[in-house]
């Protein structure tokens, strides 16, 4: 009888087996909150909108742990009936031999294989499974922080042969399958987006020409970009004086400009303090557009004002 209960429990919780890992697949949840003051970045998904959409489609709370998939996708087997969703970058997706759409809830039978095929656009996709990945949290979160070697599965990217435990999922995944995430609620991804920024806090560290360059030129994403920052290349932004400041706190979205005049948009794995002047910061709502850029894609920056006057409904 005891064995029966054990088997029942295992079946209800299940696991995600990694058959092929893809280029860089990590476990992420909503990220760590409260550790910036200790030098620990938030981590979490670079495209929080796609991540939350995937979770919502499978009935999870928006912060449940899932996978961030970079450039090339994994092949996975699910050990229980499950509801899954893939949002963000557009991939060919196969449930067994059947093509299935991204931005939809999809039901899988126990033992079925989900395979990512060719990537059509974007850089990062998010896989949510009903119940969510259930690894032990580290500093309150399952988010993988590769530079620190912690979070997720052993602080590293997933490999073939890994097995991720899942929390119990939906009673009837098949009843909830086939729901789309409305196209109108997806971020306006583009290989050449205009990113809205609020200038500062160190806009005064740049010359008027430097600011004009930043706001008028196009900047190209370089292959040196990663989860710590999107490194851009374009016309050099001129500093008014020295290209360093007394180190202070930063957040994802801050645009740092080192001495070479080439801007870096900080992303979720950023160092928590920085000594380069920050010419501007990208609005939180536009960070998903940065997450989906590929090397060679071009961005422009548009200055907007912080809404500091009372809003009337």
């Amino acid at each position: 009888m005891g064995e029966g209960i054990m088997r029942g429990t295992t079946k209800a919780m299940g696991a995600l087996e990694i058959l092929e890992a893809g280029l860089l697949t990590t476990v992420q949840d909503a990220g760590r909150c409260g550790w910036l003051r200790y030098g620990v970045p938030p981590s979490g998904p670079l495209d929080a909108v796609a991540f939350q959409a995937a979770n919502t489609l499978v009935g999870n709370p928006p912060q449940a742990a899932g996978l961030e998939i970079t450039w090339s996708g994994p092949t996975l087997r699910i050990t229980r009936d499950a509801l899954v969703a893939v949002c963000g970058a557009d991939f060919e997706l196969w449930a067994g031999r059947l093509p299935v759409p991204t931005w939809h809830s999809v039901a899988l039978r126990a033992g079925q294989v989900l395979r990512f095929g060719a990537r059509r656009s974007g850089a990062r996709a998010y896989l949510a499974v009903d119940g969510g990945v259930a690894l032990p949290p580290y500093l309150g979160s399952q988010a993988t922080y590769l530079p620190g070697g912690f979070g997720g599965l052993e602080g590293r990217a997933l490999r073939a042969g890994d097995r991720l435990p899942l929390s119990p999922g939906q009673r009837d995944p098949f009843a909830a399958a086939g729901k789309p995430w409305p196209a109108s609620s997806r971020p306006p991804y583009s290989p050449h987006p205009t990113l809205r920024v609020i200038l500062g806090p160190q806009a005064e560290a740049f010359t008027a020409e430097g600011l004009a360059t930043f706001l008028n030129a196009a900047y190209t994403l370089t292959p040196a970009s990663n989860r710590m920052g999107a490194r851009l290349q374009g016309p050099a932004i001129a500093h008014a004086g020295a290209a360093d400041i007394i180190s202070d706190g930063v957040i994802a979205g801050c645009v740092q400009v080192p001495a070479d005049g080439q801007p870096i948009i900080l992303l979720a794995d950023h160092q928590t303090t920085g000594g380069y002047p920050k010419i501007a910061a990208v609005l939180q709502a536009d960070l998903p557009l940065v997450a989906q850029l590929l090397p060679g894609d071009q961005v422009r920056f548009q200055a907007v004002a912080l809404p500091l006057s009372p809003r009337t409904c």
Binding site: L36, Y38, G39, P147, G148, V250, I251, Q271
Partner: protein, 217 residues
């Protein structure tokens, strides 16, 4: 002239409150006073803060508290802060084994200043330091108060691996590595004190505001 303190937006989810533009004990104390004030009287919607040498970063959730509200609350906190008593500083003694494989740069630091290694150790253990901020890597503590005679530039090429507990010098600062990371500071010693243990309720031993002394041993 810029007048301080000043509150500047950092995108649409944070403000930085700047108290000046220098590395000075006075400014660090003001940053920490505001941090303590916000801990004692939290602003709704504020998620966390990052204290640094001369600024406090205040991160908020705009969907819970609009920018205008947070900014007004920060102004009130700044007005209150002057009269608030500073919290008692935690005082820690950090035992350090200087030199040898624990401090591979001790000899070089001594030579570059015309001192003996023993004199470097004496000058490093003499002052009390204040933790100005943690950053760069998880738990890395930047300490104020280094003897100016010990100021030494960073290594030209950072080491790919610096063991946790290492004590380093870079410019006029001294710092402590809590985790194994790459790093370019001149390493003069290492502590056996566990500066980070994820299993503890408070995983990091050091935090901004702590007063620290190094003792040889």
């Amino acid at each position: 002239m810029t007048s301080y303190p000043r509150i500047l937006p950092v995108g649409d989810t944070a403000f930085t409150v700047e108290f000046g533009a220098a590395i000075e004990e006075r400014l660090v104390a003001q940053v920490q006073a505001l941090d303590a004030e916000l801990a004692a009287h939290p602003i709704p919607g504020v998620r966390e803060t990052t204290p640094s040498y001369r600024a406090l970063l205040v991160v908020y959730a705009p969907q819970h508290s609009p920018a205008l509200t947070v900014r007004a609350a920060l102004e009130q906190a700044l007005a209150r802060m002057g009269s608030a008593a500073l919290p008692e500083k935690r005082r820690l003694e950090i035992p350090v084994h200087y030199g040898g494989s624990d401090g591979p740069d001790l000899e070089e630091v001594a030579r570059s200043h015309g001192l003996t290694p023993a004199e470097v150790i004496a000058r490093h253990t003499a002052p009390t330091y204040r933790v100005a901020m943690l950053g760069f890597a998880p738990g890395f503590a930047y300490l104020l108060g280094l003897d100016p005679r010990l100021a030494t530039p960073r290594l030209a090429t950072p080491r790919p691996h610096v063991p946790a507990g290492s004590i380093g010098i870079a410019g006029d600062q001294t710092g402590v590595y809590a985790l194994d990371t790459p790093g370019g500071w001149r390493l003069i010693g290492r502590t056996s004190l566990a500066l980070f243990d994820p299993a503890r309720p408070e995983p990091f031993t050091l935090q901004a505001g702590d007063v620290v002394r190094f003792v040889e041993g």
